[in-house]
């Protein structure tokens, strides 16, 4: 804390000057609110099995059996090999695992070299509805969906089209799909938290000009007594500039929508090292309970997404029934942006991810000796808040925060 106090001492004069200027230059009622992301997962629309007229994709036992037959095993042998499914790698009951790992050319790891196998074919979404954004501006293109809530046309979400008929990506709301939930559970505990800060809110229902910052924090989320992400915790932003995203947006009828921008989220090195969304935007509803709920949409390198599932190989494939070579071909087939200049193959795919965030305090320490604390909600009279552009009341509250932090 010594460094922080020193920083504060050095920065108090400039901070006060900024506060005073801000107090009169900005709208007196502008607020800054802080949040920590409490849920992040592939956005799916559960419309019943009519979305998948070709049927859902087979379970792993089914497609492993299919692959064994393709490889020349007899029906009896295929049944015998899978008798003790899932079995254990390297053990007699896991004999089939080694076969499946090289099922393309019996030589190379099929998860790293999916092209060694002929496309097994992944059954895809053929319904009309999906969440996301009209990323390319085209309303009536063949790949367009309709937003099931707003009726907006032209929504692009080819990732959902690819994954939507895989059983582990299907769940009736409010449940989250199993695989998305499992991935988030790992990410949530393994990686430092993602925090969102919205500033310039003059009216939580309608604000024309707000700034949205997304940062990675230096701290992990903590859980409450029920295992959920604990609200109202304080998070310090990571000074690594790669984790900073500054977006511009507006709030209309209680829904925040940001302008198109690139969004870079540093994640967990093991499961998903990073998300790099291009032409991305956020649509988040400011809920009455103080939380945010909505989606982040944009284009994403499809191979990076493939590898986030396939890097675990058989472990993830057998447990989630996500046929990895089939996924690879489907992602490549459904990619809809960023064509390679030489091959014409699209390198990116349209995506949408569900985002939920709950109130948190965000503490910035990396910015020119300034200290900025954003509150999670509209600050009650009793709650401290340092809002650099928060009007005269914000100025007084900021002074209280600075004083309290310097006191010892």
């Amino acid at each position: 804390m010594t460094w922080l106090r020193n920083t504060l001492r050095l920065g108090v004069a400039s901070a006060l000057a900024a506060l005073i200027v801000g107090a009169f230059a900005n709208n007196a009622s502008a607020e800054t609110r802080g949040y920590v992301v409490s849920w992040f997962g592939v956005s799916t629309y559960f419309g019943g099995d009519s979305d998948c007229p070709d049927g859902l994709n087979p379970m792993s036992t089914e497609f492993y059996h299919r692959e064994l037959i393709k490889l020349g095993y007899s029906e009896a042998d295929a049944t015998r090999l899978l008798k003790d499914f899932p079995g254990n790698p390297g053990m007699p009951d896991g004999e089939y695992i080694k076969i499946m790992m090289t099922r393309g050319d019996k030589k190379h790891n099929v998860y790293a070299f999916p092209e060694t196998e002929v496309d097994p074919g992944l059954r895809e979404i053929k319904g009309k509805f999906a969440y996301g954004f009209n990323l390319d501006g085209k309303v009536d293109s063949p790949i367009s969906f309709i937003d099931p809530d707003t009726g907006e046309k032209g929504v692009k979400n080819q990732l959902y089209r690819t994954l939507g008929c895989v059983r582990s990506f299907r769940a009736p709301p409010p449940a989250h799909p199993t695989l998305a939930q499992a991935q988030w559970d790992v990410l949530r505990d393994q990686m430092p938290a993602w925090v969102i800060e919205i500033s310039g809110i003059t009216d939580s229902q309608n604000s024309d000009n707000v700034q949205v910052e997304i940062h990675r924090a230096t701290d992990h989320v903590t859980r409450d007594a029920n295992g959920n992400v604990r609200p109202d915790m304080s998070f310090t932003t990571d000074p690594d500039p790669r984790s900073h995203n500054v977006l511009h947006g507006h709030i209309k009828d209680g829904v925040l929508v940001t302008d198109e921008a690139d969004i870079h989220l540093l994640a967990d090195p093991f499961l998903q090292p990073e998300y790099r969304f291009t032409h991305a935007r956020l649509k988040l509803r400011l809920e009455p309970d103080g939380s945010l709920k909505g989606i982040l949409g944009g284009y994403h390198d499809w191979y990076a997404l493939y590898w986030s599932y396939a890097s675990s190989g058989w472990v993830e494939e057998h447990s989630t029934s996500l046929d990895m070579p089939a996924l690879w071909y489907a992602l490549r087939r459904n990619a809809d942006a960023d064509p390679d200049p030489k091959t014409g193959q699209n390198k990116s795919i349209s995506t949408a991810y569900e985002v939920e965030a709950i109130p948190a305090f965000i503490i910035h320490t990396e910015e020119k000796n300034d200290k900025k604390v954003s509150d999670a909600r509209k600050a009650p009279a009793t709650r401290l808040q340092a809002n650099m552009g928060g009007g005269l009341i914000g100025l007084l509250k900021s002074l209280a925060v600075l004083r309290s932090l310097a006191w010892q």
């Binding site: 109202d232 200290k371 401290l384």
Partner: protein, 562 residues
């Protein structure tokens, strides 16, 4: 249990110092003292002694028997405690675990002052060196020749059988750690040469009482040396040791231990909150809430030598991020604690508005003005509120969703229409209702079931409009500092104040007031007083006073008799 009685007489030194004018005159009213006590070590005391004697790297495994609380203090209840069979097994396991660590290869070099001639055989000389040094600190007095020879023989015989000097030493040390000399704080009386016909604690008992009072641990070498030299029998010698101990950083540990006891923090071990209603509350919050309050108190009372009454109104505290999430306050420190000061208009002030008090004195699923009011009166005002009669119907107060009674105030107002309940509730409820802006987990709220919460009320003739006014009223209650003096004295003496000590306590309270309610100074006055070490003689022992205090038209039995 055969306990060795010992008398240390050092009349000559005492007389010399008094004649030399070195001792300060104790102008407090004389007392007849109370009985000596035999107190079982509490778990924190046990752990602290092991840490002091052998270092903090020695782990203390196992569980301890629960303590008994009497007259508002575990320190008093420990005089009623013994060791049951199952408890002895735990002590034995713990002792063996400690002893094995002390002699292991990691620690033996630093903890054992000699090396045996042969590691595989007995070495009585080396064993005696270690055991006499450790024994003096563990028994809080020098070992008698008989005790030492027995322990050395045990170590040697075990070494012979096991072919290992250190295993033998461990066996002997484990035996000392389960001995009554270690597990019990035995006080020994002797004739007081300055007061014919009266008794006082002997030097080592005095050192022991002093050390546990000020440091929550056994006497250190310097204090034992002072006892051995007879220095504690003179006013100046006693004052010198007390001054040294009060100036030590270890005073904070003593103050923390006292308040942990007074505030009933042992109750947190059995505290639970409904996670569906209070998801933010868990065992980590429970531990941190205690720490916050203890940090607040030691910072105010020890570091800044503040006014005791300000514990009810101080806006300065310490927070970590976990507690910040409940208080709704940003905490910059990524780990650990940072100071925090609530702004003047904030409803939080003082330890009554902290999570520790609010959560400890609530139901698992709802707050309880009655429990909070009772706790405040009993803990801080030393007033005894009678238990409810056995046939009370609690249905109304428990029904928090009753559409006719939105708030606790409305439910309690209806409840006390029952004559059998009204008397006590009139004492407790107005006090507890002042804290209704805080839920069972200590979270702030302004409404209950969408109805506004009203926190105005009255306590012992002082009216208030809100929580801020309430804590100011408590701050100014004359009973609060008087109760504190009584509690602190009882804590140190290990017994309730005797009837014959009432006048002395009253005097100390006046001194407490005249010196600005400074707690270290009060501890100094108690620790250097003759009354603190006075032992009653048969026939002069008196029971606890139980007079009546007229309070807002209601008679409440008090513990102090004031």
């Amino acid at each position: 249990m055969a306990m060795t009685r010992r008398i240390t007489k050092i009349f000559g030194v005492t007389a010399l110092l008094v004649l030399g004018g070195c001792g300060a005159k104790d102008d407090a009213p004389a007392t007849k003292g109370g009985p000596v006590s035999l107190r079982r070590l509490t778990e924190p005391e046990y752990r602290q002694i092991v840490a002091d004697v052998f270092g903090t790297t020695i782990k203390v495994p196992g569980r301890f028997e629960p303590d008994i609380r009497e007259n508002g203090l575990i320190a008093v209840g420990t005089a009623r405690e013994s060791v049951a069979g199952a408890g002895f097994e735990q002590y034995d396991l713990t002792a063996r675990g400690i002893a094995d660590q002390v002699v292991d290869e990691t620690h033996r070099t630093s903890l054992i002052p000699c090396k045996p001639a042969l590691a595989s055989a007995r070495d009585d000389s080396c064993a005696a060196q270690f055991l006499s040094r450790a024994g003096r600190l563990l028994y809080r007095r020098p070992m008698t020749e008989g005790e030492l020879s027995t322990q050395v023989k045990d170590a040697g015989d075990s070494a012979d059988k096991l072919g290992d000097f250190y295993a033998g030493l461990s066996n002997s040390l484990a035996g000392m750690l389960v001995s009554p000399q270690f597990l019990f704080r035995e006080e020994v009386a002797e004739a007081d040469p300055d007061a014919v016909g009266q008794k006082r604690l002997d030097a080592y008992s005095k050192a022991e009482r002093l050390s546990f009072f000020l440091w929550d641990s056994a006497p250190d070498t310097a204090l034992l040396d002072a006892a051995q030299k007879g220095e504690l029998e003179s006013d100046s010698g006693l004052r010198r040791q007390v001054d040294r101990m009060i100036a030590s950083p270890r005073l904070s540990a003593g103050v923390r231990a006292f308040f942990s006891d007074m505030l009933g923090f042992d109750g947190f071990a059995a505290l639970a909150k409904d996670p569906q209603i209070y998801p933010k509350y868990n065992s980590e919050v429970s531990a941190d809430a205690q720490e916050q309050t203890l940090r607040t108190l030691t910072d105010l009372l020890v570091t800044h030598d503040g006014d005791y009454r300000d514990i009810f109104t101080t806006r300065k505290t310490f927070l970590n991020r976990l507690l910040g999430s409940i208080y709704g306050v940003p905490v910059a420190a990524r780990t650990g604690w940072e100071p925090h000061e609530y702004p003047p208009n904030d409803p939080r002030a003082g330890i009554l508005m902290q999570i520790s008090f609010l959560s400890l004195h609530s139901h698992p699923g709802r707050s309880s003005p009655t429990i909070r009011g009772k706790a405040l009166r009993e803990i801080f005002l030393c007033q005894k509120v009678p238990d409810p009669p056995g046939n009370v119907n609690f249905n109304l107060v428990n029904d928090t969703k009753n559409p006719a009674f939105h708030t606790a105030r409305s439910r309690l107002t209806a409840h006390i229409t029952q004559d059998s309940c009204a008397g006590c509730h009139r004492i407790m409820d107005p006090v507890g209702l002042a804290m209704e802006n805080f839920d069972s987990a200590g979270g702030f709220r302004t409404t209950e079931n969408d109805a506004p919460i009203i926190t105005s009320g009255e306590i012992d003739g002082a009216t208030f409009d809100d929580a801020s006014g309430f804590v100011r009223a408590v701050h100014d209650l004359p009973a609060a500092p008087l109760c504190f003096v009584n509690r602190l004295y009882s804590y140190g003496a290990g017994r309730p104040a005797a009837k014959g000590e009432a006048e002395w306590l009253n005097f100390q309270e006046k001194q407490f007031a005249s010196t600005g309610y400074k707690v270290p100074e009060l501890m100094r006055r108690i620790a250097t007083s003759k009354a603190f070490y006075r032992v009653s003689t048969p026939g002069t022992e008196a029971g606890q006073p139980n007079t009546k205090l007229s309070l807002a038209g209601t008679a409440i039995p008090t513990e102090t008799g004031k």
